[in-house]
């Protein structure tokens, strides 16, 4: 096997088919960038889940005097006796890890902190805020127990599981992820068809050479190798672009923009990106090579 000969054949083939090669590179790059992006998005969601589920609480909002007109608080503001009873019962439950009490004043303080830029801050007073119990559960999935025990209680306005709010967000993210995967699958099909077509055109434009190669007894492998390597090289270049896009996305989009805008969220690190890149490169190289192999079987049989 003479490497130089094979390499020069590949060079000739890639140049002869420049436009098709370019199309293959672009479509492979886009589909693999989408693949990498959705893999990273999945990582992101699970990091966020871990981070937030740790902090979620179940909140029992108690009625204040302004809530009297709502159905749940028909009995008027919560009384001291009701509060004590709820607290005692919560302390008795095994699944409750910790209970904090948040007074109306504290709630007002938190509210002011959170919305300090909003003009609405001044329109509220502390006696409009609700008192609440913030409960940390030993097992966050056992929310239903708290909800069924306390939501119909006198003096309780509402039992809210913050996990529900997060779940909606994560479902949205997952949905977007699935959509990205579908787009990726379609792009991948386009890329595959392009590769198969490119290889066929390439094989056709070199049928004189391959015909002579067959006649003088070159092995099938030797005849196919330049075409397969051509596809693999184009795919690898595409995968390289995909990796560049992912690294650029991590640097510009996440580190320099999202991280500053939303400091609350724990974004994926470089290690997660680094884990995805080899996969992208491997897929980018192997997929076109295999596609080329099957495309050639029909065209270059002995």
């Amino acid at each position: 096997m003479r490497a130089q000969f094979v390499l020069s054949e590949i060079g000739v083939g890639l140049r002869r088919n420049l436009t098709m090669t370019f199309a293959v590179i672009v479509s492979v790059a886009l589909s693999l960038a989408l693949l990498g992006g959705s893999l990273l998005a999945r990582d992101q969601v699970s990091t966020m889940k871990g981070y937030w589920y740790d902090k979620v609480q179940v909140s029992i909002f108690l009625c204040n005097k302004n809530d009297a007109k709502t159905e749940a608080c028909a009995g008027g503001a919560v009384t001291e006796a009701q509060k004590k009873k709820i607290k005692a019962e919560l302390d008795d439950l095994d699944i409750v890890e910790k209970v904090y009490y948040e007074s109306a004043d504290e709630a007002y303080k938190h509210y002011k902190e959170q919305f300090k830029d909003s003009p609405l801050v001044d329109s509220l007073t502390s006696d409009q805020m609700q008192e609440s119990y913030r409960i940390k559960l030993a097992d966050p999935t056992k929310f239903k127990v708290i909800s069924s025990a306390f939501s119909d209680r006198q003096g309780v306005q509402k039992v809210q599981d913050q996990k529900d709010l997060l779940e909606n967000l994560f479902n949205l993210l997952n949905g977007m992820n699935i959509a990205a995967l579908c787009v990726m699958a379609l792009m991948l099909v386009v890329a595959l068809l392009l590769i198969i077509n490119t290889v066929r055109v390439s094989a056709f434009s070199r049928r004189r050479e391959t015909g002579i190669m067959r006649l003088v007894g070159a092995s099938g492998f030797y005849i196919q190798l330049p075409f397969i390597l051509e596809a693999a090289i184009a795919g690898l270049i595409g995968a390289g672009f995909a990796c560049t896009l992912l690294l650029g996305g991590k640097y510009f989009l996440i580190d320099n923009w999202l991280q500053e805008k939303i400091p609350l969220i724990n974004f994926i690190g470089w290690d997660a990106v680094a884990q995805v890149l080899p996969l992208i490169l491997a897929v980018g190289m192997l997929m076109p090579a295999i596609a080329a192999f099957f495309a050639l079987r029909k065209y270059l049989k002995v």
């Binding site: 096997m1 003479r2 000969f5 004189r208 050479e209 015909g211 002579i212 190669m213 067959r214 006649l215 003088v216 007894g217 070159a218 092995s219 099938g220 030797y222 005849i223 049989k301 002995v302």
Partner: protein
């Protein structure tokens, strides 16, 4: 060298078989003309020898191998012991004469040193010494066919298959090509040549095999082209 045992070949979608019950034997070192009108089965005969096709019935033995039992991946190895020459030369127009011949060695993985040594030798043999760096387009038809013969012979094959090698050449040039093929034959290489060229066949007085509508109708040593029935 070659043995056909009641070989038939039919192609799909054609009701008339291209070869019908052909049996013959060609010994090592023979020179054989294959004659017959167009469509008589000459091309099929040669394609069977090269194992571009497989016989529908019967057995084809080439170089001691039963081609029906030869697995696909062993076919290249077998073809390295054959040389092939065609009417249309089949040279690579963007490679020089020397590169065209070297191509045959490169693609079967011969070393660079071996190629550099063998190519000038074989070009001298076919009478193209000094024209190594010319492009095929700059050569006459006869010279192009010599390049093709050089390429076919560079591996020193046991068997040379020529499909109307003089079909595109004028009579005088054809005589030169025939002399060259004769010389190759004298080195011990078996030559099977399909042709329409009556003059050449009559002059050479070699074995003649005639096909007609896929049947072997004549096998004559020291024969002539036209045979009066």
């Amino acid at each position: 060298m070659i043995r056909f045992d009641s070989v038939s070949k039919s192609y799909p979608k054609q009701n008339r078989p291209a070869l019908r019950d052909v049996s013959l034997e060609v010994e090592r070192g023979e020179f054989v003309f294959l004659v017959g009108s167009s469509g008589s089965g000459k091309s099929t005969f040669l394609r069977l020898l090269l194992r571009e096709e497989r016989a529908t019935h019967g057995q084809v033995h080439v170089l001691g191998k039963d081609l029906a039992r030869l697995s696909n991946w062993k076919v290249p190895q077998m073809r390295r012991q054959l040389g092939t020459v065609f009417q249309d030369f089949r040279l690579l127009p963007n490679k020089t004469v020397a590169e065209n011949v070297a191509f045959a060695l490169e693609v079967i993985g011969k070393s660079r040193g071996q190629t550099r040594k063998t190519v000038p030798e074989v070009l001298d043999l076919v009478g193209l010494g000094g024209k190594e760096e010319r492009m095929p387009g700059e050569l006459s038809g006869g010279e192009q066919q010599r390049v093709a013969i050089a390429r076919a012979f560079v591996n020193r094959p046991m068997l040379l298959i020529a499909d109307e090698p003089t079909g595109n050449l004028d009579p005088q040039t054809s005589v030169g090509i025939m002399k060259l093929l004769d010389r190759i034959n004298r080195t011990g290489t078996t030559v099977v040549m399909a042709t329409h060229d009556q003059q050449i066949v009559d002059q050479m007085r070699k074995r003649v095999i005639e096909l007609e509508a896929g049947r072997l109708v004549r096998d004559q040593s020291r024969g002539v082209y036209g045979y009066q029935h």
